[in-house]
């Protein structure tokens, strides 16, 4: 019996020691700044970490559809509120949730948008578990940094300083027209949503509710990824959890996407001219709907005006 207790206590101490080591190593291995040179992953999306505290009004998460469709700088120029796209290629909902939680550590946005294409991306439960482990111990996410680590990693604290002039938007002006324009053919069928995905949407909605933030589901235009059956699926989901839903694929009057000009890859993603149309309508809508402030004259947001100049140069408006 005594031996048994001794062994149990020993195991507990061993596990505690291991956890302590993982915590220490996580502190060492986490990138000390949010730039690629420091080992940061998904740099454009993580640019939000370098934004001044409590300065972002709208946070957008999702996959490539999100960073191809929403241009925060254009919405800033036209409406005067701040937004950031934490979108990454092929983003899974567990990643969306992680981005959201990270953003909320330093920001108090008024609106959160989830681009709905990620809801139909099948997730591996193992990968979702691993993502949770990585969130708890960043050594698992950044272990490969051992090759490029220096003394600063051991001595300096985390200090995110980099901001993205595009605010997560990825500019692309290529044109490759879509073969199909009529892709929203009405049907009563609803594309089924995986239970795990539904759980993540529910959790994100709950998270926003707890933080007093509006949560929106938005389907951006895409002839390849979207159809009426998916629209029905998301509409049912939105109804079940009482989440507002906007499907831009059905808003041809408000957002007149020309599929011969506004896509860069045959309807899969919008190009810059498509993003301009989406951002024009969405900026106006979200500002009015949620009474977002116009901050263009606010001196504490002067960096946004500076970034706007550089953004315009990049997109060829200057």
């Amino acid at each position: 019996m005594k031996q048994g207790i001794k062994k149990a206590v020993g195991s507990l101490f061993f596990s505690a020691g291991l956890i302590a080591l993982l915590v220490v190593l996580s502190m060492i291995f986490i990138p000390k700044n949010n730039m690629k040179a420091f080992g940061m992953e998904d740099v454009p999306a993580n640019g939000i970490l370098g934004e001044k505290a409590d300065t972002i009004d709208v946070v957008i998460v999702g996959d490539s559809e999100s960073y191809s469709s929403f241009s925060p700088m254009q919405m800033w120029e036209q409406q005067g509120f701040t937004s950031y796209v934490c979108g990454t290629p092929g983003q899974y909902l567990y990643q969306s949730e992680t981005f959201l939680e990270k953003a909320f550590e330093n920001q108090k946005p008024s609106v959160v948008v989830l681009e709905t294409n990620a809801i139909y991306r099948k997730m591996s439960p193992s990968a979702a578990v691993m993502n949770t482990v990585e969130n708890m111990f960043s050594i698992f996410r950044y272990h490969d940094r051992w090759k490029s680590m220096g003394s600063d990693d051991f001595l300096k604290p985390v200090n995110y300083t980099w901001t993205d002039d595009m605010k997560g938007y990825r500019y692309n002006n290529a044109v490759d027209q879509a073969p199909t324009k009529e892709y929203m053919i009405p049907t009563d069928q609803a594309a089924p949503i995986e239970a795990l995905n539904e759980e993540y949407v529910k959790n994100m909605a709950e998270f926003c509710r707890e933080n007093g933030v509006a949560f929106l589901l938005v389907s951006t235009p895409s002839t390849v990824n979207w159809n009426y059956s998916r629209h029905n699926g998301i509409e049912a989901l939105a109804k079940e959890y009482n989440i507002p839903y906007i499907d831009m694929n059905l808003m041809r009057q408000e957002i007149p996407i020309d599929w011969t000009k506004d896509t860069r890859d045959q309807g899969d993603h919008l190009n810059h001219s498509g993003a301009v149309k989406v951002s024009s309508w969405f900026g106006k809508f979200v500002k009015e709907k949620f009474s977002l402030k116009d901050r263009r004259q606010d001196s504490s947001y002067s960096q946004w005006n500076d970034a706007l100049g550089r953004y315009k140069k990049t997109v060829g408006e200057v």
Binding site: L22, M130, F140, D144
Partner: protein, 536 residues
């Protein structure tokens, strides 16, 4: 949840701990049922409905074994009756009649199981070859090659099925009346994907006993699992970055890089397979089940024959027991041996029949590894090396004597070890190459275009792995090497560790765990290598 290998989060963090907990909570009598249930769930998670093939194999050997036993009882009964009455067949005749019947049942069951394996694994290969033949003969016809879904571990459990039925036939074991015990023997989850290939006699009691989980077993098993993870995640998966590039585009590299690719692939294969075996045997150890070892420091072998007694041991012994000996014992083989002894002497005489049996073994060995001509070549390559060594042994002994080479010296032993390793690496190069033609091309390139240019100009470190990658692989290989030396000296590294003081014990355990976490090739930018032997 995707549970496709022993390295998946689902297996290590969920399935295995859950089975351990449920197993512990169950009374001793019912623990075998926990192992069987979890094994079937494990199989279902990977192969789904293909479980039907596994069940068919289990049912076949169960009823086959009972049939053989019944024939044996019937034979004894008739012999007893024959002794009491007169005029019927003699004892000898009865024995012969029943032996034939038993042999027919055994052959039928063995063929059924091997047939399933052949059908599922080799149909595309055979049909592809028929199509090539038709094309060569300019016959305008082609067979449609079906996409076959192969149940996980069939190459391993099919051989276990054959060994069971043959052991029952040979009277080594009694037929097992409890189909659940047979099912557990066939599909025990830790050994399901990559073996080892077990024998019913050595596994049945252990699996059925329901031994309680001892703390020491849990610790020792976990240590072995982490060590296996190091081999796989730090070495095998990291080497994949280099190996994939070299074998995908062998024409782009000089002979030096190809030689490096051959050596590193051999290293990868060893680390992948022996790492998995560490996880398998470690898991078994947790449940107090001693599964047979599949490796015994193979790179300390002084000959190819010795190598195969140390590498994938359970496959080698299976081929020895169920192919080599039965073929050697065939009447024509016995006649051939007698003929040989008369005409070429007592050394070379038995080699004739031995060579035939050896040829069968290596043809089967090559084919077992995969359906492709490069695998058959791989088998024939090792057959030629082993058989050639046997033929030239007297000559080699004489040459050493004339040249005054002390054959038992350390230096000569080292030369033999290096030579064996080099020959193994060449064989593995053919094994990994995309087809026999590519393998031959790589071999010619390696021999005719061998340079150190890639090391000198640094291009070696731009083929997927940089200098730091090579360094970390070297450190991990060194750890495995030290572990192997200890084992060669009959020192159990874990027993040694268990006797150290707490700081050393915990320090080394923490060190190994963190070494895997930091230097493992997983996460963004890495594609985990599919367990190589699971595909065979």
């Amino acid at each position: 949840m995707a549970m496709d290998s022993y390295y998946s989060i689902a297996y290590l963090a969920l399935f295995l701990p859950l089975v351990i907990v449920v197993y512990t909570l169950f009374p001793k009598k019912g623990r075998w049922a926990v192992l069987l249930g979890s094994s079937l769930i494990f199989f279902w998670c990977i192969s789904g409905k293909l479980v039907i093939y596994l069940l068919a194999s289990i049912v076949s050997i169960h009823y086959g074994g009972i049939w053989i036993a019944l024939l044996g009882t019937h034979k004894d009964e008739r012999i007893r009756l024959a002794a009491e009455t007169q005029g019927g067949p003699t004892k000898k005749e009865l024995r012969k009649i029943y032996q034939k019947k038993q042999m027919a049942v055994t052959a039928g069951i063995a063929l059924f199981n091997v047939g399933l394996l052949l059908f599922l694994k080799y149909t595309p290969f055979f049909m592809g070859n028929i199509n090539r033949l038709l094309a060569a003969l300019k016959i305008p016809a082609a067979l449609e090659i079906p996409a076959m879904a192969v149940p996980i571990g069939i190459s391993f459990y099919a051989l276990q099925a054959v060994s069971y039925i043959m052991d029952v036939y040979w009277g080594k074991i009694p037929a097992q009346g409890n189909i659940c015990r047979l099912a557990l023997y066939m599909c025990f989850f830790p050994r399901l994907i990559e073996g080892p290939i077990c024998r019913f006699k050595e596994m049945d009691e252990q699996l059925f006993n329901g031994e309680r989980i001892h703390f020491d077993n849990l610790v020792r098993g976990s240590q072995r699992i982490v060590f296996g993870m190091m081999k796989k995640l730090v070495v095998a998966d990291r080497l994949n970055l280099f190996i994939k590039n070299v074998y995908e585009n062998p024409g782009q590299y000089d002979g030096g890089v190809i030689a490096m690719g051959a050596v590193l692939y051999t290293c990868q294969l060893y680390m992948d397979f022996s790492g998995t075996m560490d996880i398998v045997l470690g898991t078994g150890e947790i449940f107090g089940i001693q599964l047979p070892e599949n490796f015994r420091q193979p790179f300390f072998s002084k000959s190819i024959s010795q190598f195969w007694q140390r590498w994938h041991i359970t496959l080698g012994t299976w081929f020895k027991d169920y192919i080599f000996y039965p073929v050697s014992m065939l009447r024509p083989m016995k006649k051939l041996t007698s003929f040989g002894r008369k005409h070429v002497g007592n050394y070379y005489g038995p080699l004739l029949s031995g060579g035939c049996a050896l040829f069968c073994v290596w043809l089967c060995n090559g084919l077992w590894h995969g359906s492709g001509w490069n695998y058959i070549f791989f088998g024939m390559y090792h057959f030629a090396l082993i058989f050639g060594a046997q033929i030239f042994e007297p000559a080699a002994a004489k040459i050493c004597k004339v040249l005054h080479i002390p054959r038992k010296s350390v230096a000569w032993g080292t030369v033999r070890i290096v030579r064996t390793a080099a020959l193994v690496c060449v064989g593995e190069m053919f094994f990994r190459a995309h087809g026999l033609k590519a393998g031959l091309g790589m071999f010619v390139n390696m021999v005719t275009n061998f340079t150190f240019a890639s090391v000198k100009d640094g291009s070696l470190f731009q083929i997927g792995m940089d200098k730091k990658d090579f360094l970390i692989v070297a450190v991990a290989v060194l750890i495995v090497f030290i572990n192997s030396i200890l084992k060669e000296k009959s020192i159990d590294p874990r027993e040694w560790l268990g006797k150290r003081g707490l700081p050393v014990r915990w320090g080394l355990c923490y060190g190994l765990i963190l070494f895997v976490i930091i230097f493992g090739a997983y996460g963004v930018g890495y594609v985990p290598l599919d367990p190589i032997y699971a595909g065979f």
